[in-house]
Symmetry: D2
Subunit: 160 residues, 4 copies
């Protein structure tokens, strides 16, 4: 089964630059995360953006929407910062005929202790099993994208 | 959502005993694997067996079947060695009204490079999204349990 | 053999706070790093500061100097940010009768790919084997503290 | 500084073969272990044997002795199984003018929780700092090779 993964940045892709003593969104971590999973999936990874999701503009969201809409794949995963994940998901709500699953992580994929791999595995599984629509896979659950919000204080996604 | 995880051993739970210079099936690794995933799931872990799946007997399979059948949970994950995973899955085929997902790993969960976490995340996601029946989540895919086999040479599960 | 480890912050102790979308110096990582090393050493860990080393003041350095000077241990390791490690090391040069080894890391200890554990192991080993004086253990080598500088562009310590 | 690392097998190099459901001594893990350490050392890795140390013969030990004796390097690390580490070390006692440090691990290097990297870092540091002779770096300490034994019950090396 063919799945296209679009990467847009967010915490999941944060790396550390010692020379600047700071963390920045770096190259997509998806390939590295999946390297050991021994997958029988036909995956295509398309890097789109490298931004904190708080910095995404309407133009960025239109770029993401267009890329997903034009993809040959009917099953799509989008990695994305968590803070505005639902906003971008809403912008893709009118794409017909595709199962689109957003995911990301609260801790960078490069950390030893991270939710990144779990979330990505969950999103890739959901993308295969769910009907067309836009979904968010976070904290072990899969939500319809318009029925969920990030609870910043509790550091998790929950149903509206 | 409530999910019960039954552990039966297999490669996923193999640990190393230096004093004996050998690996053995140890305590269930599920809790440790999920510790960082920041899950909003109500999980119950029930250890049943600690065996290589090649050593499982008919009585062992009956024990697994009975435990799953008697579980309050309608969504169940079973961690299991890969070599006879389909045999045990077949023994559970007649349990009605439950979504039962088997998973395991080709490399022990304690290894830095392992498919264990991906597979477990995939199984827990599938257990929430699929209808009643017996399923196998391995290599990034989810198969009906009676439509899959382990290809030992290729080290992966594939459709029959 | 008794060794006291003083922690002062730096990249080695950087953690990620999702709620603020940023990294900060967090609690000392030394204990977590050493948990699996199966050490037969009598170690005492004393947290002193949680600062980027670029933010350390003369008062901070005096605090570090006083703590090391007053320690019962004659063998001491100081974890420290790399940018001003040599400056703090110089401030301790007049402490007699103690083997003092500074170390830190270019990548946070919490990363899967990090130099933190290697550097800490190297520093703890050097603290046992070297005569009194102030030393810097970085990049696999052990330098007299007044004969080394951080080459920021090359991302490593080198002899002056 | 130039250091030659000879690998002879042991727990440190144990890998898992799913097809056989068992662990075996695999290819040397030294390179993988050191990949992230950002070392400024001139290291040469020479694989000699892939054996559990309980299976090493007198001929094997002679091969190790000859390889170390003929090495251009005056500073040498030997990775080795722990059970007969002291026996092999004794066989090298008469090599003049070289600092030779044996190390290994109680848990395989491929495990997430392992003493392998600490021990290797300790051995490489000791090889630079100690005078000629044969040494064993284990459990955070560095012992003269003829003054140490493995306490199997306590799972650690201790002074005789």
């Amino acid at each position: 089964m063919q799945i296209e993964i679009f990467t847009t940045g967010g915490t999941i892709d944060k790396v550390y630059f010692d020379a600047k003593s700071r963390f920045e969104v770096g190259e997509p971590q998806v390939g590295e995360l999946l390297r050991e999973a021994n997958l029988s999936l036909e995956l295509h990874v398309t890097p789109l953006l490298r931004k904190d999701s708080l910095e995404l503009t309407a133009a960025d969201r239109e770029q993401i929407r267009a890329a997903v809409a034009q993809s040959c794949a009917t099953r799509v995963v989008v990695t994305h910062g968590t803070d505005t994940m639902t906003t971008t998901a809403a912008a893709l709500a009118d794409i017909p005929g595709k199962t689109i699953v957003f995911t990301g992580s609260m801790q960078p994929a490069r950390f030893r202790a991270t939710d990144a791999l779990y979330n990505l595995a969950s999103a890739l599984t959901a993308a295969q099993l769910l009907p067309p629509g836009v979904w968010i896979a976070m904290n072990g659950r899969v939500f319809p994208a318009d029925k969920v919000r990030k609870n910043v204080a509790a550091n998790r996604f929950e149903e509206i």
